[in-house]
Symmetry: D2
Subunit: 306 residues, 4 copies
């Protein structure tokens, strides 16, 4: 299949690489061109602009950092004079599918669905769970929403990039909400671990033993074990997922919840902890580092500063 | 061993039963005498009062609902005239061990340790993780703190009642804090599930599928699966652990944290949700029912009312 | 002076009226034309579009509901084909001043400042404190930021519309932040009153007497008296300032705080209360009605439902 | 009238002094005897123990720091052997009135009412609003609850100590709840000021000008002016009311609310801020210093540290 891929960051690069190695004809673009050229050496066509990618593909995958980046690529930008750099929307072929795989807002996803349809194209929302290592091994989990026939066309690509595909409905918002709710649940676990560790450590209990007990007895979960250990050992760098991006996702969850009038008090508290952590200069560490905010506020943890 | 057992509720009765069946000589007391008599028919001596239990035992186990009940049994009560019903503290033999196995406050545990030592006795704090079914099967997890020689004397009893014993230190507070921090972590998971379900359901996603995805992909934890399913299916009765007792434990966690100046913002929010749930008449349902507060506030969930 | 005025809602209409009556030459536009025509009958020129207003004025005042409305008017809109309805930015004369007087985001205000300068125009941020009655009497309080020479040009207009002008700096963000922080403080007072009333009423104290004590002794503030009484008497309609607009401002405050990494835990809680209130169908009542959320959660206040 | 007075702290000493100067026959007791002797030199009888005060008075006023101190004085204490130092309850004459004027819990106030009645005495709950200077000038505000005939007997004393007396009902809890709700409202104002100042200052606005605007335009309240200025000028010592005592009152408000199932989300957040402030070593500064917690978490305010 002729596939375009825009956004070759920590996640996008290995995802595109897997598509290339599986034999798909790939055109790639990345703002920092050197990352695209790494794929060029493996046989991908390196485009000069997003428009260049979009001109001749059946499927266009975006894996971009945030809403702004996606909007700029798809809808284009205006300058002061009112002139406009055209977006991919205006050149993507009729019948082509845009597959958005990064974590974007529900609102933008709905707008993309509407605009692509109006332009005679299709749109599938397909955010993923998994860290860069999972992307490299083709072991992502992909949560998909959109028109079923379009999803079926994408399935061969999903199977190369992921170990599992969950179709959650026709309305594209569904997959974005699942991703955001999932990230909230992980952030909540991190903050919960942080607060519990602060309490037990200040009471003289060894945090490692506490984790062993609570995970061994109650949760029996690898992610509790893994994240808990990294918090205790203060391994917050290099960042698999940066704390400031965690805040971005928590904000998108709050925004999505607000748009459907759903109060989420835990999310609000967690958002505050993220802002505190960033205010104290921790925006670039891994988001498990959020767990340091409570100990810091408890005034106990000089040793925890990275 | 000559063992006294006071408090034969949902947890205490099966725990005492296991001790009896393992061949220990048991004297039991319960405010509602009929529950004690069930053990009487299996060979336990049924005492008329806590003092009666304490007179001739090497080990006294308490499994009482809250701090007040423990204080009354151990320290006794005064009436208006200043007369005093004596507590167990004044009759328990020299060298006997009081093993407190219910969830009590850190403060009371520390006071018990001090008072028993002054009275020539010993004290071991040994709260448990596990629901009534685990108690019945002798599969509790027991978190123990106190003087090591005393703990060793208790070990044979612990091995009858539990499948694992964790010794967390000599200072008794350690085990109570571990129990309270653990219960906070479970309550946090419940509230997190409640908020996430409210968000995805209001967005048109099937909560069951969401749970399948998020637990299948991220948490891989039986307790997420079990509690999540009970929330979705609204199985909040009969209560394995009542919501109002959940509030009690969250308050004890807050109190313990405050005594050592540890701010815990998530705990505070969760406390509020418990109070809301109780205000709306849900104090007697199982504490997983806490997850209904968010949906209720979201104004969507008439169908969720039990 | 030749003045354009766009946005003739509850606040804008009386503000424009005062300018007209003070002898300024006014061109007005409002989406619902009938409101503009009321001013037409008093001598204003009623324009057919925002562009029409902007063509020949020295000063353009906007008093629009939210960021989206301002963006549409100033920057224009694109349609699917990439065609663009031009915004006021492209027709406003060189040297003209855009005075934004509604509550908009810090981000948008900064962007407006930048874009107007690039287009050879000037921009002054001048949000106001005061309800519609104050607008009618020319008794608003105006918080102004921007280049001092431009502010001086606007001063005669401000003096017609308001009873006081506060210049808070050259950086336009300053005035928007003051307005948002101020609205947060009012919302906080409302929620505080709501929670305090819930507590005392449920304890059998007459809320009116409580207000009399606490305001008479501690706060001695007319707004506490006025808002407190309206809460107690449940006068939430007609809305001087709608609850859902209150949420908008609280969100803008959170966003402004987040952009400069300032955690504001009270704001987060208040935001949640707004979302709860809206979820329960109270978005259109006056924002003092926020004070009903706590009583509702306390399960006591059937009588409070409007 | 023969009046006993126990507790001669910052508030109690000037209150007792005013009674003495108004001609009442005063017997006083204070743990630190030197403070009592200051009154001795003015004609008060200095007692050796609380019991000694209670033996021959018509009215007994307590102005003690917390619940524990009141319980010890009124109910007495037990030692390990079960021996008991008797409390005032057992010696206070039949028909005498205990007037509790410090801020104590609703629960303790209700228990005092019950126990005094059983002992043939009377109880009036009369907490006060006002700082030490107001106490010195006899300008406290006194919130009273209890049997009306008993309140009338106390009125001459109240009129010496205060400038206003509010009778809020027969049920003693009413006055304690009014006091606790009032202190919550003040704490909420402090935290609100702290968060608003953090936002505007980090945005480059002068906090003093912001206070001038917001108080001049919206609140028009002396306490906003006074507390706001002290926050801006960082005058947190000497403490008129210590931050750690503020936490005590917030906890009592939460406890009172919880006992009647009233969720108070703002109170919970404020409680956390108090715990954070104390964790960072600020327990002994004036409670307006709470307003520093937000700036500290915002990572901006080295200059604010006392």
């Amino acid at each position: 299949m002729k596939v375009g891929f825009i956004g070759l960051g920590n996640m996008g690069l290995p995802m595109a690489q897997n598509l290339l190695r599986a034999g798909h004809e790939l055109t790639v673009y990345n703002r920092t061109r050197s990352r695209a050229e790494r794929l060029g050496r493996e046989g991908a066509y390196v485009a000069d602009s997003p428009l260049d990618v979009a001109l001749d593909v059946e499927m266009l995958i975006t894996m971009l950092a945030d809403d702004e980046a996606v909007e700029e690529v798809i809808f284009g930008v205006s300058n002061v004079k009112g002139a406009k750099a055209r977006g991919v929307l205006h050149v993507l072929g009729s019948g082509a599918i845009h597959v958005s795989m990064s974590t974007i807002s529900v609102r933008l996803s709905q707008r993309l669905a509407e605009m692509h349809v109006r332009s005679g194209q299709a749109y599938v929302a397909a955010p993923v769970f998994g860290r860069p290592e999972a992307a490299a091994e083709g072991k992502l989990w992909i949560v998909v929403a959109g028109p079923s026939d379009q999803i079926e066309k994408c399935r061969p690509l999903f199977e190369v990039m992921g170990q599992g595909v969950f179709v959650v409905g026709e309305a594209v918002a569904a997959s974005n909400v699942v991703k955001l709710a999932g990230n909230f649940m992980i952030a909540s676990m991190i903050e919960t671990l942080g607060e519990a560790f602060a309490l037990v450590r200040k009471s003289g209990v060894d945090a490692k033993q506490f984790l062993e007990i609570i995970n061994g007895v109650v949760f029996k979960s690898l992610i509790y074990q893994d994240y808990g250990t990294r918090i205790i050992e203060e391994r917050f760098a290099p960042a698999g997922f940066k704390l400031r991006l965690g805040l971005k996702d928590i904000k998108l969850a709050l925004e999505a919840a607000e748009d459907i009038s759903t109060p989420m008090p835990l999310v609000s508290v967690i958002r505050n902890q993220f802002v505190s952590a960033i205010a104290c200069g921790h925006g670039e560490i891994d988001w498990v580092g959020l767990a340091r905010v409570s100990p810091d506020n408890a005034g106990i943890d000089e040793g925890l500063r990275v």
